[in-house]
Symmetry: C3
Subunit: 343 residues, 3 copies
């Protein structure tokens, strides 16, 4: 049994094989409609979601399965304890040591979204909830975004890039952007890790104090060295756009001042908001964003509504890659091999 | 592609054709069980719901599809921005310009419930959310109740009337009723518009200051003139019941004092609560209400539990008309034509 | 039509027949995948749930049906009135006299979870909501936990016991346990009623003031007399474990001081927490608990993680018995009879 929780557990060939499956599914979305017949899958959300919830729900249903969305810790169910040995006299009414195996008895696979709490990066980085899920689960676990990464988003991102270009030796820019909140680093982490695995030159443009986690950067560096590609980090959000083939816009909170929102200073915002002026410096780059995106704060209307934007294609690919991930972890991804056999 | 958002976009023949489909589905509810196989439909609720949620969920499932219920802006997902050009530095985390096309990539159709905010009728009437959904959607949009109308309820209402009588030249009374809140006008608007389209004489009994929106009334007047039927508005909640064939009870808030609850004066309430005494003045009228209804405030127990009430039949018809609307907007409503062919 | 709401409405033979069906379903879970095809079932939750929600959802789906989970009174829908003759000018927007028949028109069966309010046992015991559901429903109602009982849990419990032993003349201990809240008595009530019906000797270990409802105890006493088994109630949480074959751990609130949490005194807690020392006094007993369970407060880690615990098996059996209950109330439980015919 294999979980799908972190990009680092997979090779680029394995990720591309999952994407190959998604490509087949995208062409013939109804072709595997009974793969999950009679089976339920549990999608556990400790935080809100739109694309993730709809993509896994619709994907499960299109494969014949029954999606069960559980909003944990708010409304539907109670809070969950993740740590061992605790005397549970606080607010958590159930331990994941029971809840996760129980879900595994009733469901074929489990997805988990668990955002960082935003108080201590050292604590958040432990990913207590996700770790407990993978530790206790007897069925495959899919990470639907944790503190450190969002591998399902990265799969959809790479699929979208592959639809437009061969990523090898192309230029990928992750550009930090303003926001009213200190957002999680999961998406920026996974986006640069994915780009480096796919053989792209990686540039990160961010203000001082907004460096990504050193462990992530070490893996990105290693990938770039192995692929013979470049890795640059810059604080200049103009020249960074020069010659880029993919611009990935994203805001995230500072590690140095963890949990503190970015500056709301208008000049600082104006400097970092992604504009059509910046996009014109690129080599006709794709503009990508995981969504949701705050218009005219993260990125201007004329970029999102302009020729560069592939954000809706990217979101659609969440559906196809979600299906491919589910088939992968359930050892059902035979579509591609079957079709190859038939040729 | 055609949305189903406002009665005024449809002719009475088109509405009756959808109801004809619902009548066929009601007789053989399991007959089209694979029409939506493998497809998901997104039902977006910005406000609570029971009948609408269950009817569209059960209806979708009985056609083989997968209903995805999204509670937007509370719990499951975040708040949505509907207006163009906004700098999104407030509470809304996503623009409908992204969210709606994304839903369209994953789902075959989209339903939206969006109540008025209750602060300004001029603002509410713009129906910013519904307008954004229809503007940005690449798949059909169904209005599951907006500020100005509730066309799905009107379909179920007309179906229920048709089951009991030929509506032409029959007498339809919309009777205002007391409440603790200033309720939306969507249902009363749609009920009189539907009745006037169906060729019924229309009477509206309401206290002074509780007139419906002039634009709605202008359409109702035009329909009545075209059909040669009568349109009366009265403040006398006794004589209004004389000779009626259908009594539609409903509370709504005042346009004149927008957002202010109706008077709680016991004499005022007693005057307007729908009673068996009033119903006995009718020509054995049906008593209709969209539900939920507050017993002994809007209408007395002896009416709801008496021979006049068809409120549960009316609610059941929400299911059959929901299915017919989905088949209609998805161009799948062939049941009736198929059956006509077979005759 | 028959509801499944209280154990006392069923004989032990009838309960065992439902469990027999569950045993068949557990062996071949996919064998009845179209029994509920095209049909929706409404699961109404006035309180949170994990196992109940997932077991009924997954169970319904594995039988081909569509589960509709409704969180009543929080988020999705509004508050419901259960009492007759009320002037509804308070917070409840709908009467169950409408809502329940409407659900019955759209769904094949209805489940209800409605916890006690915890202010007055006399009021809670009336089970106003559940009573209204069974009174007004035109389709079968399943009790997914009410103030007085949790019969679906009891079915899964008896199934689990049957998997390990023939319950007749075996020793069953219900052991009270500490907690931070005054929990409902539904599970302890149903557990001892079920054990007494199944022909087990029943011991209840609880602090003074924590006796179960006299009506429940009267039924347990009558069952034990009819079966020639013993019934003991003790305040000694050590000797109570001697020679037991099943230990059912559970906290519940005091009837004497209704709504007041149990003492948080460390010595009192230490006395009543279920420990491996206590379990070693048993005759290799199963340790059972309905979950969720607070570790190291209700029961220590070394019991839950030790050889005694069957809590996850017990939870899994919620799925199989949920399916069997649905087939039972819908008169579809032919699997077993069919298989017997084939032999």
């Amino acid at each position: 049994m294999r979980h799908f929780t972190h990009l680092k557990d997979y090779t680029i060939d394995e990720l591309n094989a999952i994407i190959d499956e998604a490509v087949v599914l995208k062409k013939a979305p109804a072709s595997r409609s009974s793969a999950l017949a009679g089976r339920s899958l549990a999608f556990c959300f400790m935080n809100p979601s739109l694309r993730t919830q709809v993509s896994f729900s619709a994907g499960t249903a299109s494969l014949g399965g029954n999606p069960i969305v559980l909003n944990m810790g708010s409304g539907g169910t109670w809070g969950m304890e993740a740590l061992e040995g605790v005397v549970m006299d606080g607010t958590a009414a159930e331990h994941l040591k029971e809840a996760v195996p129980v879900l595994g008895r009733m469901c074929a696979a489990i997805g988990l979204r668990s955002f960082p709490a935003g108080k201590s990066w050292a604590e958040d980085k432990r990913e207590d909830a996700l770790s407990a899920f993978t530790k206790y689960s007897t069925v495959p676990v899919v990470n639907m975004e944790s503190a450190s990464g969002h591998p399902c988003q990265a799969l959809a991102d790479l699929m979208t890039i592959r639809e437009k270009m061969n990523p090898k030796k192309k230029n990928f820019l992750l550009s930090w952007a303003p926001h009213v909140k200190p957002l999680p680093m999961a998406v920026p982490n996974s986006s640069v890790e994915m780009a480096s695995m796919a053989g792209m030159n990686v540039t990160i443009a961010r203000p001082e104090g907004y460096d990504l986690d050193p462990e992530v950067m070490a893996r990105v560096k290693k990938n770039c060295e192995a692929n013979g590609t470049e890795l640059n980090v810059t604080a200049d959000p103009q020249t960074a756009f020069d010659g880029q083939h993919v611009v990935y816009g994203k805001s995230w909170g500072s590690l140095a001042e963890y949990g503190k929102p970015p500056s709301a200073d208008p000049a600082f915002r104006a400097k970092w908001t992604i504009s059509s002026e910046k996009m014109r410096r690129t080599s006709d780059a794709l503009f990508m964003h995981c969504l949701p995106v705050r218009r005219n704060l993260v990125v201007n209307d004329d970029v999102l509504d302009g020729p560069w934007s592939v954000v809706v294609d990217e979101a659609e690919n969440r559906l196809h890659t979600a299906k491919a991930v589910l088939l992968h972890v359930l050892n059902l991804n035979s579509t591609r091999r079957l079709q190859e056999t038939l040729k």
